[in-house]
């Protein structure tokens, strides 16, 4: 039997994420794909895949909200949009209803968002114009080293030392990496150094206070970064079950709210 569903589309510059939730806010279906160049087509693919997982069809959608850089490119689904900052906040607050600092590491940008216990934003920061500390930095390094992205996490774990990369700039960092290769440093140590530099760049963006939630595709695929963050800030962090989906989930919660509903977490995944 079908049920009414609420949809959130997070059209990131790098990946498109869709979340389908029920009237309690619980996640029923989701999908993630590379955004590519045809945002509308990718959104449609993700939408149908996540609806299918939810056991629903397009006619069951009560409301939808789009977020992310391509949020205005999905008018075929919805003209309602919210910023990704608002959606990450909403998605994380649903999971952790307390005062939190969200660190989101995305493909093209990072955000640090501070919420009070009621989920209201106290402040937020986005990274500046450059790739420092973003997924784009990791992608660049993976192609320079000719090591597939998905292998980086396990390689970093094998490191015995951490190479320090001092530069903000991705191009300068790449030069530092090459220099370390020339000096015969083990690849695992270099990759750990890359991870370390990335997390450092993110943590430098703002003061990190209170409980920390990590989200975004980069931590979803590289759990070693989570441990590294814990080490650097000296306390455990909270990791959502689907770190890459908090924005899409938040967008879906906005859709639910717009129709008078309230994500009460009673269908918690």
């Amino acid at each position: 039997m079908t049920q009414p569903v609420y949809v959130g589309l997070d059209m990131g510059a790098s990946r498109t994420k869709v979340a389908v939730i029920d009237r309690h806010g619980a996640l029923l279906g989701h999908a993630v794909k590379k955004s590519g160049i045809d945002f509308a087509a990718t959104a449609a693919l993700c939408l149908d895949a996540s609806l299918e997982q939810a056991g629903a069809g397009r006619s069951d959608i009560v409301a939808a909200v789009a977020t992310g850089y391509g949020r205005n490119n999905v008018a075929f689904v919805t003209s309602q949009s919210k910023t990704e900052i608002g959606c990450h906040a909403k998605g994380c607050h649903y999971l952790y209803a307390e005062a939190i600092t969200i660190i989101d590491i995305g493909g093209q940008d990072n955000k640090i968002i501070k919420l009070d216990a009621d989920g209201r934003r106290e402040s937020f920061k986005m990274n500046r114009k450059c790739a420092a500390g973003t997924g784009a930095f990791l992608e660049e390094m993976s192609s320079r080293l000719d090591i597939p992205l998905e292998e980086m996490n396990s390689l970093a774990r094998q490191a015995t030392e951490t190479i320090r990369l001092g530069s903000y700039c991705t191009v300068f960092s790449a030069t530092e990496v090459l220099e370390n290769i020339r000096h015969g440093k083990p690849v695992a140590d270099i990759i750990k150094g890359i991870f370390y530099s990335m997390i450092k760049r993110v943590l430098e963006m703002d003061s990190i206070t209170g409980k920390v939630v990590l989200s975004g595709g980069v931590v979803a695929h590289n759990p070693y970064l989570v441990e590294m963050t814990e080490e650097l800030i000296g306390r455990p962090v909270l990791l959502p079950p689907f770190p890459q989906l908090t924005g899409a989930h938040g967008a879906a919660l906005y859709a639910l709210e717009a129709t008078g509903g309230q994500g009460d977490g009673s269908g918690e995944e």
Binding site: S81, T83, I85, G86, R120, R121, S123, M126, R128, K129
Partner: protein, 415 residues
Amino acid sequence: MAEEKQPQRKKIQATGQMMKIMSDYFYDLNDAGQSATRKVAWCTSVGPAELLRAMGFAVHFPENHAAMLGATRMATELIPEANAIGYSPDICSYLTADIGAHLKGTSPLAKAYPGIEAPPRPDVLVYNTNQCRDVQDWFTWYAREFGVPCIGITSPKNFTDVTEILVDDVTRQIEALIPTLEEVAGENLDMQRLRETVALSRECTELWRQVLETAAATPAPLTFFDGTIHMGPAVVLRGTRQAVDYYRRLLAELEQRIAEKVAAVDGEKHRIYWEGMPVWGRLRQHSELFSELQTSVLVSTYCSSWIFPDFDANDPLRSMAKAYLALFIVRSDAYKEAYIKRMLEKFNIDGIIYHDAKTCPCNSNSRYGMPQRLEQETGIPSLVISGDLNDLRCVSDEQTRTNVEAFIEQLEERR
């Protein structure tokens, strides 16, 4: 956020008169440049323009020209010309755009005012480093280019109070400019004329203050974006009758708007203070973005910088020194914060946006912890956006939009 609402920007009727007096100003400047008898001085925006006008110089303001390069989006193409001769992309993009335009032999004046090709050739260049060091470097380059004298005031910086010692210093520096200026002008300074000029400058800036303060009304009848356009006469025609007449008319129109509750931004929901320079090449986009969000960016440090209550016709030189020292940009953070706090209250502000302009550190007040301090003291949230006044290579429209929309969402949550 960005739903439905189409931006409603209301045209200010007095704009026509402003265009006319600005046009008259540029043609007169052009005539002076071509005349065998008249002399042209180039002056920084808060340099000793009163002195120059009183001595009969036609006064050109390169910053105004540079802002036009920005607003017409010519700047980004021209900046590399100056970079190529050693002026870094990290320094003032007014400087690099303006020198780039000179090197390329191009100017926005040519398009706007048929018959004018470029700014007039200077007979003398006069700076005041109260705003930054770049103006001195900028003017010195032209002095070498044209083989004319470049003189100026090296201003004290970062003080909280304008003390008598500082005023003595700057007064003497202004006095020391006079012999060179008399030599170039071929006439002696007439103190009576200086008094009259200072009196007109005082009147002009007093009216400009009243114009800007109309934005304290709810809803605000004008925005920061309007202000950046309408401040033209306060910058280039300070000390003239035309500017005074213009601001009387503009003020009357805005007072009328207040009486009729006409809002510059329809359905004004949020009131924002803008700290820093405008992004000249994005004025319209930014104005529309905020209108869509029913947000009025209604007051700024930048536009308010051309208010000089210290001008006093009875003591022209000393009062000029005081006015040039009282400028916001040259003061300490302690002074700046106290000033902004007063403005937040007076204009009933909900949020502050700091524009961190890549190439203008002096107008980027977010770099030494001010947003955090002010937020803590006033509880008014703030946002820092990265950009630049002229170099659009430093501007990310998407990042700006997302940041601004998210900030307005944040303000909405607090309502």
